[in-house]
């Protein structure tokens, strides 16, 4: 393992950039995003406003920084929901392979797959009204079967190995084997899937807030910024292009990092490289 995969560097760099911007936005942004300043509306990029201002005179850079915070928070919590619920379910299904429990978990997963996160968001919004929490819930629920499947698939191939049999001969319970032997050996899979779901979460959050089912004004979010910019696409396309590029770079960064991690952690690739 003499060299780290190059895409890992690029990806981690891009992701770190956005994460820093998001964290920084808690302490400081160039301008206050909740203050409207019509006097300086629609300013092009300048030394004063690096990325220009929108139709309410808000600083685009500040908006993007706070938007990154919203996006990352929604995606992280949604991935967290998926891992915390999906992985134990997947491990349990694999441990009891072929049993009614396995069948129940997998059919439940299939059912959730029939509700794309947008549909879940529609349902939740229709009942409780729109909010960022809805977006988190909708994306998080959809992540559960994803992680359950990955965990189950990875765990099942490990359950067939002899060291599991050895652990059982040593009197270890199924739960203990899952925690001690299975989980560490599928951690790679989960980390890689985690970055993928994280980037999908960013995309989904943008989509939901674009159609008004996510974070509500005045909280800036990248999807909201795009929705606002749409009406002005004839006159000021810059307003639509900047937040879009932010999404693309963030997601690209996460995907590159995921690919890099997979190459780094995949024992098959490591072996051929050695």
């Amino acid at each position: 393992m003499s060299r780290l995969p190059p895409q890992l560097w690029v990806g981690a760099g891009l992701s770190a950039l956005f994460l820093t911007a998001a964290l920084l936005s808690f302490l400081w942004t160039p301008y206050d995003v909740e203050v409207l300043n019509i006097a300086s509306k629609l300013r092009p990029p300048s030394v004063e406003f690096w990325l220009g201002t929108d139709h309410f005179g808000r600083d685009m850079l500040s908006m993007l920084m706070v938007g990154a915070r919203t996006s990352i928070a929604v995606a992280v919590i949604a991935v967290g929901i998926g891992i915390c619920i999906g992985v134990p379910l997947g491990l349990a299904a694999a441990a009891r392979r072929g049993s009614w429990l396995d069948e129940l978990i997998m059919r439940g997963n299939d059912l959730i797959f029939a509700f794309p996160s947008l549909v879940i968001a529609i349902l939740i919004t229709a009942t409780f009204g729109p909010s960022a929490t809805n977006a988190i819930l909708a994306i998080g629920i959809f992540n559960i079967p994803v992680f359950a499947r990955v965990a189950r698939g990875g765990a099942m191939s490990i359950w067939t190995l002899d060291f599991i049999m050895a652990a059982r001969v040593s009197g270890k319970s199924i739960t203990r084997i899952s925690a001690e032997h299975i989980l560490p050996n599928i951690a790679n899979l989960l980390i890689v899937q985690g970055t993928i779901q994280f980037s999908l979460g960013i995309l989904a959050e943008a989509g939901l807030s674009y159609v008004g089912l996510g974070a509500q004004p005045p909280t800036p979010s990248w999807g909201r910024m795009l929705a606002d910019a749409q009406t002005m696409i004839y006159t000021t396309p810059r307003l639509a292009i900047t937040p879009g590029l932010a999404i693309v770079m963030m997601v690209l960064g996460l995907n590159l990092m995921g690919d890099g991690l997979r190459d780094l952690l995949d024992p098959r690739i490591r072996r051929t490289r050695a």
Binding site: F113, P116, I124, T127, G207, Y210, V211, L226
Partner: protein, 315 residues
């Protein structure tokens, strides 16, 4: 084979039943009374009571559920509160936009992704592979509705090849209809095609490492012949799963994209219904979307069995 289809069909029916419970229950937990929720805060008590009766809210949970299901089975999806027309009529009109759009995008995505993925796999490590992988990496990261805006910017505003939105209706002719759906379909299809092409590539590469490819080579097949005659069909099996999953993403994506292009599809309908608190419409459209997704999963399962003989006798 017949047994396999029967079991799949049974599971399809079961999923639909459970899905309908979930949807119905979700709408039921609306804070307060659905009727007053729909009418808003300033409604007169007698209007609320009238709506309650109209919505059939006076029965028990079970009777209402059975009424809803029974109605849908006989084609009666209830009446929209805001539009004052049968929901089935509304939906039928809107489906004519959303479904062709999703299918158009699905076909585009598959037609682009499969050959592109094959080229990348067969030129593995070469310039073509490098270029394709780079382009798909970018494609995966692009939100489809933003891509749609860019398309509008370039092809509608700058080049004026397409109109920026709207739908002339199928009465205006098949060509005019498809032309209006072309930009939306491309916006939907390209990001999905990027994912699919990457999966096609890795699946084909993995298949090319199988022992039976070595057998085929030892038989005297060239690498190209071995790919076409042996690897391709096996490599398509995982791709099929993704195509099935993508349909649900495309349908959901179509709902969002319709907003960019002002298309009178299910998406516009459902978002208007949400803002106007028209729960009857929301409930029915969601059920319809879920039905479409489950049906496609069923069709994918059947196609599996056609591609993979190992499934036919098992199960």
């Amino acid at each position: 084979m017949l047994r396999y289809i029967l079991i799949r069909a049974l599971s399809l029916g079961l999923s639909l039943v459970v899905a309908s419970w979930v949807i119905f229950a979700m709408i039921e937990v609306v804070p307060g009374d659905p009727a007053s929720f729909m009418l808003g805060l300033n409604a007169q008590p007698d209007t609320v009571a009238a709506l309650r009766a109209e919505l059939g809210l006076n029965g028990s949970f079970l009777t209402r559920y059975l009424g809803w299901i029974g109605g849908m089975l006989s084609g009666d999806f209830g009446t929209s509160y805001t539009y004052r027309v049968a929901v089935s009529e509304l939906v039928l009109e809107r489906v004519q936009v959303s479904l062709p759009l999703a299918l158009y995008a699905l076909i585009l995505s598959t037609l682009i992704a499969v050959p592109v993925g094959m080229i990348a796999a067969s030129r593995r490590g070469g310039m073509a592979d490098f270029g394709i992988m780079g382009a798909t990496q970018l494609g995966v990261a692009v939100p489809n509705f933003w891509f749609a805006m860019l398309l509008v910017l370039v092809f509608a505003i700058q080049l004026r090849w397409f109109s920026a939105g709207g739908f002339p209706g199928w009465d205006a002719g098949l060509f005019a209809g498809f032309k209006a759906l072309t930009l939306p379909a491309i916006a939907l299809a390209l990001p999905q095609a990027s994912i699919l092409a990457r999966i096609m590539r890795s699946s084909l590469l993995e298949t090319l490492h199988q022992d039976y490819i070595r057998t085929a080579r030892a038989k005297g097949l060239s690498m190209g012949q071995a790919t076409r005659r042996h690897a391709l069909r096996n490599a398509l099996i995982p791709v099929l799963t993704i195509i099935g999953l993508q349909f649900s993403f495309l349908l959901a994506g179509a709902i969002i994209i319709e907003n960019v292009f002002f298309l009178p599809g299910l998406g516009r309908l459902i978002f208007q219904a949400i803002t106007q608190r028209d729960l009857v419409v929301v409930e029915s459209v969601v059920m319809l979307l879920v039905f479409a997704v489950i049906l496609v999963t069923f069709l994918v399962d059947i196609t599996y069995a056609l591609v993979d003989p190992r499934l036919r006798r098992r199960a």
